[in-house]
């Protein structure tokens, strides 16, 4: 399988009046063709900034730092100029956003907004573009697309708007679709429908997807790979099975304990993770999770841990995997210098 996206040492900061906010602090991950990668983390963990960095949509006062590298389909995105980047956006890489209610322009019809994007990236005529748009709306499950396409966003429900946005995003057969919390603003039944739709489309079109969410349930439902982010850094990454059945990092473990389980026989208390996320204006010099970590050691506060190779696909950024650290139950020791 070919590597489609390779993000290396991505650092994105916002220079505000109060100082530098380090939203993303040197993260690396890869995405193969056909993958559905979930990026999970709480608010402010840097997941949205990561996706906007890939899209080249970081606005002032945000800056992607020099040492960062984002290689998409063998192209180094950080070196492209504005024009080259906008030719890629919506064409090779598409994105859908959190709130479908406000993501469509209220003063233009769906037809206008869809055909505009199609015609920007292809040589289609107006009528061909319209045909294509209708076909796309049909594909995402909007009934009577020939009629509905003439409608305006306010005539669409939230779920239908998200479908229309997905249809627009897929209009040029992108190789990569980034979905930033696509279901957060929708109610639960619609959420399930949208997720089903995305999975279906992925099967049909073989588009790689990055799904950003704070909902582990959503990740479990659609993804095959997971990256867990915290405080602008990657805490753990691996396949869906590894993250859900063999989590290694104390943060991932904490997340699992705080998910309600359907268990009719037993009453079980949820265990929250005490404390609050770090201030990215002055991030801790060591592991960002150390102030909240039940296992924190002296080294955790001083120095961030490298990513230890737990398996072929799983990495965890925790000093407890080091040979010299004390033995704690549930933490695998990694032999030698196997970390990146």
């Amino acid at each position: 399988m070919k590597t489609l996206l390779k993000v290396e040492n991505l650092k994105t900061s916002f220079y505000t009046h109060l100082g530098e906010v380090q939203a993303v602090r040197g993260i690396s991950f890869e995405l193969n063709e056909g993958d559905i990668l979930g990026i999970v983390g709480e608010s402010g963990s840097g997941k949205s900034v990561t996706s906007l960095s890939v899209m080249g949509l970081i606005d002032e006062p945000g800056v992607i730092k020099e040492e960062s590298s984002i290689v998409f389909d063998d192209i180094e995105l950080t070196e492209l100029n504005k024009r080259e980047m906008s030719n890629l956006r919506g064409n090779e890489i598409a994105m859908i956003f959190q709130d479908p209610m406000t993501s469509l322009n209220p003063v233009y019809s769906i037809k206008n907004q869809m055909t505009e994007v199609i015609r920007k990236h292809t040589n289609m005529t107006k009528s061909e573009a319209l045909e294509r748009a209708i076909e796309l709306l049909h594909m995402v499950g909007i009934p009577e697309p020939e009629i509905r396409i003439k409608g305006f966003p306010h005539q669409f429900s939230g779920g239908m708007r998200q479908r229309a946005l997905i249809a627009t995003a897929l209009s040029c057969n992108p190789k990569l679709l980034i979905a930033d919390e696509p279901t957060t603003a929708l109610d639960v039944t619609i959420q399930a429908q949208i997720l089903d739709l995305m999975r279906d489309l992925q099967n049909k079109l073989n588009t790689s997807i990055i799904l950003i969410t704070h909902d582990l349930g959503v990740i479990a439902e659609v993804c095959n790979k997971v990256v867990v982010m915290y405080g602008g850094m990657i805490m753990e990454k691996g396949t869906i099975e590894e993250i859900f059945y063999k989590p290694q990092h104390p943060y991932t473990k904490g997340l699992h304990k705080s998910i309600p389980k359907v268990n009719l026989n037993q009453k079980e208390r949820l265990v929250p993770i005490e404390g609050s996320p770090p201030d990215l204006m002055a991030p801790p010099s060591g592991c960002p999770f150390s102030p909240r970590c039940p296992h924190a050691m002296k080294i955790c506060i001083e120095k961030a841990s490298p990513l230890f190779n737990i398996s072929e696909s799983q990495r965890s950024s925790c000093w407890l995997h080091d040979q010299n650290s004390p033995q704690v139950e549930g933490f695998v020791k990694v032999k030698g210098d196997k970390y990146e």
């Binding site: 406000t102 469509l104 209220p106 003063v107 920007k120 305006f152």
Partner: protein, 306 residues
């Protein structure tokens, strides 16, 4: 659609009748009359004058007589400009006021909106500071000061522009600039803040994420939304500007409609006050109606129907 227009016309007529009635009552309530002068006028002469203009009729009869005239577009004779009828005064003064007002409105739209957009796009850069500084000054400095400065510098000191008269095209420059200063700055500021607001919207980000060029993102997706509040302001503004400005017309010695209006209040020239007020109200209503139609063209969420 047809129902809507019928409703609109009925409400317009009712509004105008109400405006006429209120003006009539207010006017008779203020002390003094058309023939009150500092100089002593014998009672006999006043009586004859009042008789001539039917001012000694009972107020209710005067009211109905006036309304009858209004419906037939007979606005009555002026009390101070002997021999002139109010409709003649409007016909003689309005074209010039409208001409200058029209040019000023055009200047406001053509310059104000683009300047506001540029300022928003270059937020917190030197050009933005410059535009906002200039706009603040133009909003705060009254039009008569601007007019006086124009006359002093351009006409008197440098002799580029004439001080008065309306024969050469050059002549219009002074009044048009003085007349548009305030609204021009206001429109620029309004466009800027509205644009800044719209640029933060999610659909602008979507447009960028879809790979549209910056020109299309701004010129198509952001602009149309940003113009909605601007249109709201421009409608009534055009009505106000077209119906003339007393100050500007006085300073540049123009025979426009604004001068008649203000003079008539001082003279208690009842028929002129009434006629001008109703005329102004009608004009205003028409402009608001046009704004409503433009609204429905810009924003599909606003529908015109009965």
């Amino acid at each position: 659609m047809r129902n809507y227009y019928i409703k609109r016309i009925i409400s317009t007529i009712l509004t105008l009748l109400l405006v006429a009635t209120i003006t009539f009552i207010l006017m008779r309530s203020i002390p003094g009359g058309p023939f009150t002068r500092e100089k002593f006028i014998p009672d006999e002469i006043i009586r004859i004058l009042e008789e001539k203009y039917n001012l000694n009729d009972p107020p209710l009869k005067q009211y109905f007589d006036y309304m009858k005239g209004l419906v037939t577009f007979d606005l009555g004779p002026s009390f101070s400009l002997i021999g002139f009828k109010v409709e003649e005064m409007i016909a003689s003064g309005f074209p010039l006021s409208a001409k200058i007002g029209g040019m000023a409105s055009l200047l406001i739209i053509i310059v104000g909106i683009p300047v506001g957009i540029i300022s928003a796009l270059k937020q917190n850069r030197p050009i933005d500071y410059f535009v906002m500084f200039t706009a603040t000054i133009l909003v705060t400095v009254p039009s008569f000061v601007i007019a006086t400065l124009i006359i002093y510098f351009f006409a008197l000191r440098w002799g580029i522009l004439p001080t008065f008269g309306n024969t050469a095209p050059l002549w219009y420059i002074g009044p048009v600039i003085a007349l548009s200063g305030y609204s021009l700055s206001f429109v620029a500021r309004l466009t800027r803040s509205s644009m800044l607001e719209v640029l933060r919207q999610d659909y602008v980000r979507t447009a960028r994420a879809n790979g549209l060029s910056e020109f299309k993102v701004i010129g198509k997706h952001a602009l149309k939304n940003a113009l909605i509040p601007v249109v709201t302001y421009i409608g009534p503004m055009v009505a106000a500007i077209l119906t003339g400005s007393f100050v500007i017309e006085k300073i540049f010695a123009l025979p426009g409609i604004g001068r008649y209006f203000v003079d008539s209040v001082g003279n208690r020239d009842y028929t002129v006050i009434m006629g001008m007020t109703v005329f102004y109200a009608a004009f205003y209503i028409v402009m608001v109606f046009i704004v409503d139609i433009i609204y429905s063209l810009i924003d599909p969420r606003i529908k015109i129907d009965g």
